[in-house]
Symmetry: C2
Subunit: 404 residues, 2 copies
Amino acid sequence: MGLIVQKFGGSSVANAERVNHVAEIITNTYKAGNQVVVVLSAQGDTTDDLIEKANEINPKASKREMDMLLSTGEQISVALMAMAIGRMGFPVVSLTGWQVGMETSSHYGNARIKKVSGTRIQEELDRNKIVLVCGFQGVNKYDDVTTLGRGGSDTTAVALAVALKADLCQIYTDVDGVYTADPRVIKNARKLDEITHDEMLELATLGAKVLHNRSVEMAKTYNMNLEVLSSFTGKPGTIVKEDAKLEKTHVSGVACDKNIARIALVGLQDKPGIAYRIFSMLAKEKINVDIILQSIGRGNTKDISFTVEKDNLAEAARILEEKKHLIGFDHMNTTDTISKVSIVGAGMANNSGVAALMFEALYEANINIHMISTSEIKVSVLIDEEDSEKAMQVVHDKFFNIMQ
Amino acid sequence: MGLIVQKFGGSSVANAERVNHVAEIITNTYKAGNQVVVVLSAQGDTTDDLIEKANEINPKASKREMDMLLSTGEQISVALMAMAIGRMGFPVVSLTGWQVGMETSSHYGNARIKKVSGTRIQEELDRNKIVLVCGFQGVNKYDDVTTLGRGGSDTTAVALAVALKADLCQIYTDVDGVYTADPRVIKNARKLDEITHDEMLELATLGAKVLHNRSVEMAKTYNMNLEVLSSFTGKPGTIVKEDAKLEKTHVSGVACDKNIARIALVGLQDKPGIAYRIFSMLAKEKINVDIILQSIGRGNTKDISFTVEKDNLAEAARILEEKKHLIGFDHMNTTDTISKVSIVGAGMANNSGVAALMFEALYEANINIHMISTSEIKVSVLIDEEDSEKAMQVVHDKFFNIMQ
């Protein structure tokens, strides 16, 4: 018994049948004696329909007006869910982003949560109501509607859980937890019972796509326990918490990210300020850079290689080519037929053999490594995109099958 | 040049083509040097889709949640219109009911406007923006979303025009003005250039269905000039204003209302309090009564006849039959195959021949009159429903064709 925040995605409220099913999950939680706050996304087809209508009228519509338009999707979801729960005879109320005081920055389409006033929700909870809240949306200081961008509803749920000091924040998805690898690729992937926020962050970043990064970061900062579980199976999911039990192997999961491209600048002057110049140019154009490797200088030149998202490759290459005279490099190589395979585990830092074991698995499978990047809790390698599935499988087998 | 409030209904924003067409009307008004505030209804199909979704989940959904759901329709309309106007290169902003401070009562589904804060709109006008506002919606004192019920967007437009001290409030519809009779029924009906608020009120009440009553009442109270015109033709419409020029005939229009039924209570005691008892019982059940006629007492009994909307007939008859012992009548007759034909004109009060002329027209056409009711500016008669069209035509001819 306690205060539980539950979040359901667009596919969980896609039609009347799904809405009624989710209403069962919510009211069962309520009947068990909990206070329940629920965050909902827009029905999948609603958002698509709205975007289509907008594109028909103005493909370059202002972001403010897109937010005004798209935020109706979550409002429809919460109203319909309130009707379903009302029909089952439970007290319920639906609330929009502005009604719950979800204050955000003014970056329409990609706003950041600045403050959450839990007052209205607390009042409704005190009246014993199930409270449904529109995910993905807020208001800025001008009282204009904003949306939070990708994964926004996860972030809404965690922000509310933190503001209301919830005991648990459950994120319902179409998978039943966090796996040692993507179960659609690696058939013998195992579901994890527990995982730390840091591990979850690395997995999210690395393309596991279970939870959105911003929501996990926020949960870590405020030490909020998350549970990732399926609205379809009804089984316990994976708990994300600070003191998660470590896996015996020190590795929690294997992830693969194919949305990646590499740029290499060859023959740079070996003098201070070059790296600053390159990456500030890219940052100014909002191009995120992931792995950066700088070669040891040879004579008076050096090379710098780095990865960007595939979509940003052409733009990044254009900018660098334009500024070639300012940066001063000999030539540039780019490739987008690569992928990044990573192992993640909080126990890795104290276990030097882990990286070696990964490299061994790849060597045995005759897979060439282009770049390596390591952190306290992960090891990432860049390989040819065509080797992705094989690499995932052999690395997963090395850690999760052979050693058990 | 001045401040103009324009209202467009659901059919005016039904699809991208219509939205772009209305955007032309709005921007032409702006280009002519006016400040422009626009009130929009939901796209017709949007509201229908939402109601269908709600019915599928809960046919008896709470009115609060229905308002939460349906208010998204207008939000979609204003966002799409802002995109269309933005594409044409004009400065524009869309605003919801809560953003413009449209404070209403708490009667979900049928709320009344209590106060309008024009501050936000004025700020946007000062920035030279075209301001688009969601019709039909507001917020109550709990910060919950309300809707205004039938004709709500007309009322929104007039309320904003009053609050902003607009020079004119234009109501765009699918007809190009107010006619001397419904032009779909009476082929030679004429469009009126001007009409008074009182005449418009009587015509609206009597089934002319051009403007909603509440909007005209508000315009009359605050002496706001309205213009009813078509978004299709681009022609001048009918101006509704206090000092409208009177028609030569003293009659402005002929209207017909078929949504009417009659109840007669026969053999009531001729003593005080009977009428009070009957009509307070009906009022308690929210049944509106229109024409009431009481016969002169014969001996110690009298009869009372009155009309209600067709939908309310069964309910009204049930209530009266249940309370027969309290009211004390001999028997009750009901009929729903009647209709009400009325002539309206501000010049009528000082022209005793007008009613006689109407009765003459009906007599010449051999149409029997069941009940008569008169006010300062109208004469209504109840006739058999099957005589409706003929009655409309002969009365219209009497006033508008023969006399001109």
